[in-house]
Point group: C2
Chain length 195, copies 2
């Protein structure tokens, strides 16, 4: 923002790299082993970081895993925002793609754990609301949707709910072929509303 920031020291770079390794290991761990199998120790080992260093970055288990899901969600949002202008079916496909990878699996594990654990719940609820608003904003922009028109906002919301449901349908089996057909059809439906 016009302010001159001092150049980073090698120590700051190392610290940042450690933090990123922990965040990425945390998401992978959550996606593969679920909340019950995801502890700070397991993640530190996977990231090749000492438990002490991990706790320096993230004092509690809740800190580590909510930060991890938030970090990956921001990465995905940035990638989506950088997409070139595309046909609507491709945009719908890209939005649905947000909910079918390891990030969605990790986020789902966190949501479900938060529904049963009081100390996790408020943080995950707040995180989910923030990520949800951002995803909605990106969807409106990529789809070229005019939310001033009646019904458009709810149409986009329903589309993102569908994307989340498609992610859930992909949890236990590879649902890609059916998903493609649903995406094609719903993209055509959207054209009728948004144009």
């Amino acid at each position: 923002m016009g302010v001159v920031t001092p150049p980073k020291t090698p120590k700051q770079d190392r610290s940042r790299a450690t933090r990123l390794r922990l965040l990425e290991a945390a998401v992978a761990c959550l996606a593969e082993h679920g909340w019950a199998g995801s502890t700070v120790s397991v993640v530190a080992e996977r990231a090749g970081v000492s438990r002490g260093a991990a706790q320096h970055h993230f004092p509690t288990r809740e800190d580590l895993f909510t930060a991890a899901v938030e970090y990956v969600a921001e990465e995905r949002s940035a990638a989506l925002r950088a997409l070139p202008v595309q046909a609507r079916a491709e945009v719908v496909g890209a939005l649905v793609g947000l909910y079918t990878g390891p990030l969605f699996r990790a986020a789902l594990q966190l949501w479900v754990a938060a529904s049963n654990e009081e100390q996790l719940r408020p943080r995950v609820t707040e995180l989910e609301a923030r990520v949800g608003r951002e995803t909605h904003r990106i969807a409106v922009e990529l789809l070229g949707a005019d939310e001033e028109r009646p019904g458009v906002r709810e149409t986009v919301q329903g589309l993102l709910d569908m994307a989340r449901g498609l992610g859930l349908a992909n949890l236990l089996t590879d649902d890609a072929a059916r998903r493609r057909r649903v995406v094609t059809q719903w993209a055509a439906l959207l054209d009728g509303v948004l144009d």
Copy 2:
């Protein structure tokens, strides 16, 4: 089916009642405490049944919880099939309602656990496919959808995916007001495709 069945003995009635109490306690337990907190002992205690009696009905933990989710899914399907003919927005609301109660919470806990546990996964995958097909059949019938027409099948599938996504959005917060607006809008969109 025209075959005379012998009248049930009081012992059979008692056994059946015990089984039902176990199934209902299992779903409630799964919805409230998740897979990690749901054991046969916890369910037996909640149902007021001895652990031995519980194991007589359901030899393994997997048997008990998959049977419980299946039982409640069948109850919900039967209730849905018995609905009088309704306007499309009401049908969409009823279908979405399948995914917002304790059954959905319980099923979600089971799906997510199955994604991390090999001994649970094949049974839950098979159960989910069976329940999914049945829900699709009921939706087609209640919506008066003609699947011979191009796009209709995928429209109904996408609607059920949306319903599942709305269920997920309701996991941590009460999403009823937003959900009502999305349902109203998508029911109107459906009218354009199905009529």
